[in-house]
Symmetry: C2
Subunit: 193 residues, 2 copies
DNA sequence: ACTGATTGACTGACGCGTCGGTTTACGGTC
DNA sequence: GACCGTAAACCGACGCGTCAGTCAATCAGT
């Protein structure tokens, strides 16, 4: 049961992802995590500074890999519509691949203490800034009317966010990727004058 | 300092709203709340079953008053665009009026234990169902193309949600009501084919 | 036998909810 | 209009469970 071969540190991370997703940050104890990992309290504190450090590491990791997946997909596509669709599709694929991680990222990481909240804000800001840079260019090139691009970037982010959360909670649609065309059209059309 | 005249029960609720908004649900102790209210532990448990009961009452109250404000505004307006704008404006006004309550509703109530999560889901579902009923009618009347109205309702909800959260965190735009036209156009255009 | 990895019993702090008690408000009685 | 009984409103010290984090002991590899 102890999955030999997989290093303990990694096993603890995977176990933590499962448990955090199921019971939330405050609802999971360090004992829960080490029990799920088939390990011990001492080993936990050998590899991680504390519970908060582990959680932050998980969130930060996912954000980084999501950002690079999206950046890669966008750079490959050409044309506004294709780029938006590529971005949403890359996101849907990343969220769809790992429900537990998605839950942690979009639900469990919200509304924790101020330290966590700053981290979350910073991550959202990274994505919002990316979107906003495209919107600003589109406005400059008169592709879309002059709007508050900062606010619209967050509207866009929020739309995707909530669709993923709804999928996590209700399981609809069956495959998250199914929402990509509707969502992409919603966003593209929404920004057109 | 004890604001005589205002009944204690109400004072406790107001104090709780402030403290919950500032420190989050898990970060606030019952002692914090009664200290802020200039009251006592005993009085708290005289009026409320427990911390969870108070929090749920606050959230439920706000959701109810928000729903009726929106329903009222929508019924007064005529025409699709006007109705959407009226709904968003009523929402913006309600969220703009009380930052602390908005923070609790949209940030602090997320990702708590399963009991809270069910309540939040139920409240979101109420609003999503309202939006979806309009979308379904619009689809039936061929005003908008056949789309997944359930998913689109959540996209709409999420867009507004995130814009309000961003306003709470960054203070931009200065007046939340300023986002209404851009947001309404985003949503209306987004749904058009 | 030395070093890094791992264990789990233990501690100390913290916070919810209880409970015995005190004060306040009020209706009835003479 | 002083007196009393009583019930509701209110107080806050404390009990008790929970849980993050520690550390002395043990194990495994070299």
């Amino acid at each position: 049961m102890n999955s030999p071969g997989i290093p303990l540190r990694e096993r603890i991370i995977q176990a933590a992802i499962e448990v955090f997703a199921e019971r939330g940050y405050n609802g999971t104890t360090v004992d829960d995590i080490v029990a799920a990992a088939g390990s011990s309290k001492g080993a936990f504190y050998f590899y991680f500074p504390n519970k908060e450090g582990l959680f932050l590491a998980i969130v930060e990791d996912f954000a980084t890999s999501l950002a690079s997946a999206i950046a890669g997909a966008v750079s490959q596509a050409s044309g506004a519509m294709a780029k938006v669709e590529a971005a949403i599709e890359a996101g849907a694929r990343a969220f769809g691949r790992d429900r537990a991680l998605s839950k942690i990222m979009l639900v469990e990481a919200v509304g924790l203490n101020p330290a966590f909240e700053n981290k979350r804000r910073e991550i959202y800001a990274r994505f919002a800034a990316l979107i906003q840079s495209y919107l600003d260019r589109a406005v400059a090139e008169k592709d879309i009317p002059a709007i508050d691009t900062e606010v619209m970037a967050y509207a866009w982010l929020g739309a995707i966010n909530e669709v993923v959360v709804h999928w996590l909670e209700s399981g609809r649609p069956k495959e998250l990727e199914k929402v990509v065309p509707d969502l992409a059209r919603f966003i593209i059309n929404g920004l057109r004058g």
